[in-house]
Amino acid sequence: MYQDKSYFSGLFCGIKSICIGLKTTMREFFTPKITEQYPENRKELKMFDRFRGSLTMPHNEKNEHKCVACGICQMQCPNDSINVVSEMVEVDGKKKKQLVRYEYNLGSCMFCMLCVNACPHDAITFDQSFENAVFDRSKLIKQLNKPGSKVAEKPMPARPAVAKPAAKDAEASVAQAAPDQAKAEKPQPATDEATEAKAEN
């Protein structure tokens, strides 16, 4: 046993730290308890914001969602829980991908949130619902886009780097965040990428 304090200072330090501990537990004794009594408080139970209940696709009041059926979430999903079924339609002479069915298998989802993080349009998110018990596994396969819904007309630019005017801000922030040596070379390729992305669109 190592000795870093003299006998008496060690003794009094010990007494002091025990008193601090006793004070802490006594305070804890009187604090409101954090236990949630689930089935009884089902009405007023509110899960915390970052809780990953199940994947949802928010729709606005006009029954429009933001999904452009790019399929990035499907590619990101490690468990193949997401299946994006899309079709090509011709709008104003341009071919465009359109979402038909967004299938989500709750049973194989591991709530890693990679899909939500990858989504360029913030079309999907996790909600707070957690009562997922069903009698049949097939009921766990959910269609997230509501029937008759369509993609919102002017989707908000999710990544400011894509839009031209916002590109400079994005560059500035990137340059600030990047280490100093990267600063000199960074702007040139970044603008190129931005313009290329614009051209592709």
């Binding site: 046993m1 003794l11 025990i18 802490t24 537990t25 804890e28 004794f29 604090t31 308890k33 954090i34």
Partner: protein
């Protein structure tokens, strides 16, 4: 103050009028034994419930609350579960010692339990060396623990039992010295007299002021160690030794260890309330006659139980605050700190008594 000996005397005379004296005493002994066993079970249930609730509250939880209102029936359910369980007979154990061990533990704690002063005139065992008797019979429990460890023929129980032996024998010294300190103040070892004296002259913890307070704190620490609880639960140490000395026990044999653990807690608290806080003696403040009258109206049993459960709460507070110590820390705490302090405290108390500095 109500004197319980009126009832016991009445019962004794009633029995004498029916049967000869030897039979009367036999019947009374059986009655007392039944009362002890009943109280033992009742207090074990109360304490287990209290422990679980208080533990929960200290950890910001609610504790048991599903079985019955506020979980009141939880412990009954556990007790019935334990009664129904099979007592497993293992090969290659010392069957006789293995089965004997829980009874040693339970008998030791029942004998100590019988020494508590419940009310004025309500003592079950009361004679002139009562404190010595308590110290002696409470030490019998360690024999049971060692037997349990040895008889199980398994490494974890043996390690647990050895730790328990080292720990209990060490902390027995502190307990003995703090009790000596208080006997120095009271001048008697008879439990009923200790309490009578405190009823007349004020509680020992106030009479003995500084040395009594130091002795009380040391008793709180050593008492937890004696019960194998709290930061001193090395003999069980569920994270290292599965369950320590009672790993190989099942059913009611395990239940006896469990009961004895909680009753030892109650007994340690009861002895603390007897020698420090005045047992059944009500709180008196000199000069306030109206207040004293009100305090006298509260029955002695309520005072005793109130003080005892207060000390039990202190024990639990200590237990759920501190993490488990290592075996060398436990022994150095006792031999390097508590024992020298309680020896110095004994000298201090002797000086206080010699110069009549007590209140």
């Amino acid at each position: 103050m109500f004197d319980f000996s009126v009832i016991s005397q009445w019962l004794h005379n009633l029995l004498l009028s029916i049967v000869p004296e030897w039979a009367a005493i036999l019947i009374e002994s059986v009655l007392v034994a039944l009362v002890i066993i009943t109280l033992y079970a009742v207090f074990a249930i109360v304490l287990i419930y209290m422990e679980r609730k208080i533990c929960g509250f200290f950890q910001c939880r609610l504790g048991p609350n599903r079985v019955g209102k506020w979980g009141l029936l939880q412990v009954f359910a556990d007790v019935f579960k334990m009664l129904q369980k099979e007592i497993i007979k293992m090969r290659q154990t010392d069957r006789f010692l293995h089965d004997l061990a829980p009874f040693f533990v339970v008998t030791a704690s029942m004998l100590t339990f019988a020494c508590l002063p419940w009310n004025k005139g309500a003592h079950m065992i009361d004679f002139n060396i009562g404190i010595f008797f308590i110290l002696a019979v409470s030490s019998v429990g360690v024999v049971g623990i060692l037997l349990a460890g040895w008889g199980s023929n398994s490494k974890y129980p043996l390690i647990g039992a050895m730790r328990s032996g080292a720990q209990i024998i060490s902390y027995e010294l502190s307990i003995g010295l703090t009790m000596l300190t208080m006997i120095c103040l009271t001048g008697t070892m008879q439990i009923s007299e200790i309490v009578e004296q405190q009823a007349a002259e004020g509680w020992n913890i106030f009479r003995g002021h500084v040395p009594a307070l130091i002795a009380f704190v040391i008793y709180l620490i050593a008492g937890n160690a004696e019960c194998n609880r709290g930061p001193f639960d090395l003999p069980e140490a569920e994270s290292e030794l599965t369950a320590g000395y009672h790993t190989e026990y099942s059913g009611m044999h395990f239940g006896y260890f469990y009961l004895a653990e909680y009753l030892n807690l109650f007994i340690a608290a009861g002895i603390a309330s007897t020698i420090f806080l005045g047992g059944w003696a009500p709180l008196h403040i000199a000069g306030l006659d109206g207040f004293n009258g009100v305090m006298d109206a509260i029955p002695g049993i309520v005072w005793f139980l109130g003080k005892t459960f207060f000390v039990v709460f202190l024990f639990m507070w200590e237990r759920w605050t501190l993490p488990r110590l290592r075996i060398d820390n436990i022994l150095s705490l006792e031999w390097k700190y508590l024992m020298p302090i309680s020896m110095a405290n004994l000298v201090l108390m002797a000086l206080v008594v010699a110069f009549k500095l007590y209140l």
